[in-house]
Amino acid sequence: MRVETSYKAPSAFARNAPGYLFLLPWFIGFFGLTLGPAIASLYLSFTDYNLLQAPNMVGLDNYVRIATADDKFLSSMKVTLFYVVCSVPLKLAFALLVALLLNRGIRGLPVYRAIFYLPSLLGSSVAIAVLWRQIFDADGIVNTLLWYAFGINGPSWISNPDYSLYTLVILAIWQFGSPMIIFLAGLRQIPTDLYEAASLDGASKARIFFKITLPLLTPVIFFNAVVQTIDAFKAFTPAYVISSGTGGPIDSTLFYTLYLYQEAFGYFRMGYASALAWVLVIIIAIFTAFSFLSARYWVHYDD
């Protein structure tokens, strides 16, 4: 049933109101939990706030200390950069390799895809970190296998500062499932007639890979690299659980996020931790900007 009404131009309020009403929860969240806190965090980073006394302006002191007089900042940044630089390329290489193998039309693809994806889905849960701690323990399964296979008496990986960080890198690589699935989706989009034409021309498999697959896949590689790098900078749970929250032994697994957590919630140096947070943001931003700048030299978009 239609009711005829005489047309009346809607008022500005009537035109805008529904949009703003639908956005109301988002507005509250955006101003109250994102924009407001971001501004507050910038302000706090110039203070020595400790939750008990009112924030006291200290100017650039926090940043100066970070830059010149904080060994833990230096070591945690080193650990984090090492983790990022080691784990991301290896993880992507594995993801790409497995995606290429799975893309060759093998049987039971969904099963393999699932098997490779499961570890990443379980991701940053405590159970996985606990499992990892046990695997690389002094009498863990890695050393048991080393003993049986090669007669090697393995070290206590987790409590040895020379190896502890590597175990975390291995954990990150083990979870290569989600970039792999994005690679698989990217490989699907490469037109098959390109491959047919190339093989008709007698191009070798290696040539096809380097001249067709890889260039056409660069946008996906780029996307995965950016996402994984940002994620790696934010890694927290495995380092926390494996080192029981200390970042030990001898700060060898003191990830930047773990250091930030200790400063903020261990010592309640909220001002200093805010400054650390902003330094992290700037470093992530520099990394991201650098990837976007470099992208124009190696990422091919077909237009």
């Binding site: 529904p18 806190p37 159970a127 903020a264």
Partner: protein, 257 residues
């Protein structure tokens, strides 16, 4: 790939000495007592952790789906002053690492008296703070033919009715993807509970598991493995039933993690 997981699962029913002595996955005899020891062994039963996690995860799913779909509908279909500006800001929040807002948020919740309750973990989810889900839904809503809601508009349907009766029913796939990832991420979340929950009665599974690691020290591996396995069950079941949806979701949208 799955060996570590299977090793943990088999370790949960193995004899203590057998766990590390052999690489074999098949235990010489099955001993399920570790599950009872782990479940009832602590100061609080593991069931209490599971219950807390379920409450937080379910509320987070509801909150995310409702608040993000409301915002996404406004961005995808409604016209209002400053829409592009707000949309750009929303996308901007996608790139903002949570460390920046972490400390002032903590102070805010502390002043509100919410620390040590689950409110800081749940309330933000009702305020569409996970911009990623908004973005995902906007993309999906834009794919729904405009003729549908334009026709409804002609018939005098309100924006609310269009959202409720047309957009949501047609968007079940994307709502499901958001709901599933929302559940898994909340279930796996360790950092949020670590900061906000300090009373063992409010602990989630992740926190409970960690306190279990500390309290049992290096004595009872099989019950530690048993509880670890239990903590993975919900995610594993979701994976089993929604595998396709999860993988399609990650392939098209590049979901993180």
């Amino acid at each position: 790939m799955l060996y570590p997981l299977l090793w943990m699962l088999s370790g949960s029913v193995k004899d203590q000495n057998e766990i590390f002595g052999t690489a074999s996955l098949i235990p010489s005899h099955f001993d399920f007592s570790s599950y009872a020891r782990g479940w009832f062994g602590g100061q609080v039963t593991f069931g209490s952790f599971v219950w807390n996690s379920v409450v937080i995860a379910v509320l987070s799913v509801i909150g995310n789906v409702i608040s993000c779909s409301l915002a996404a509908y406004a961005f995808a279909r409604l016209n209002f002053w400053g829409k592009n500006f707000w949309f750009a800001l929303m996308l901007g929040t996608l790139m903002l690492p949570y460390h920046v807002t972490l400390i002032p948020q903590y102070i805010l919740f502390l002043k509100l008296g919410w620390v040590k309750t689950m409110l800081p973990l749940v309330v933000p989810k009702f305020l569409a703070v996970d911009a990623f889900f908004i973005f995902l839904m906007v993309q999906f809503f834009r794919g729904i033919p405009r003729e549908l809601d334009e026709a409804a508009m002609m018939d005098g349907c309100s924006a609310w009715r269009i959202y409720w009766r047309i957009m949501l029913p047609l968007s079940l796939p994307v709502l499901a993807t958001a709901a599933i990832f929302s559940f898994i991420w909340t279930w796996d979340d360790f950092f949020g509970p670590l900061i906000y929950l300090s009373d063992i009665n409010t602990y989630t599974v992740q926190l409970g598991l960690r306190s279990f690691v500390d309290s049992t020290g290096s004595s009872d591996w099989s019950s530690l493995f048993a509880m670890s396995s239990i903590s993975l069950i919900p995610v594993f079941l979701i994976f089993l039933f929604f595998q396709r949806l999860l993988i399609d979701g990650i392939a098209t949208a590049g979901l993180k993690r």
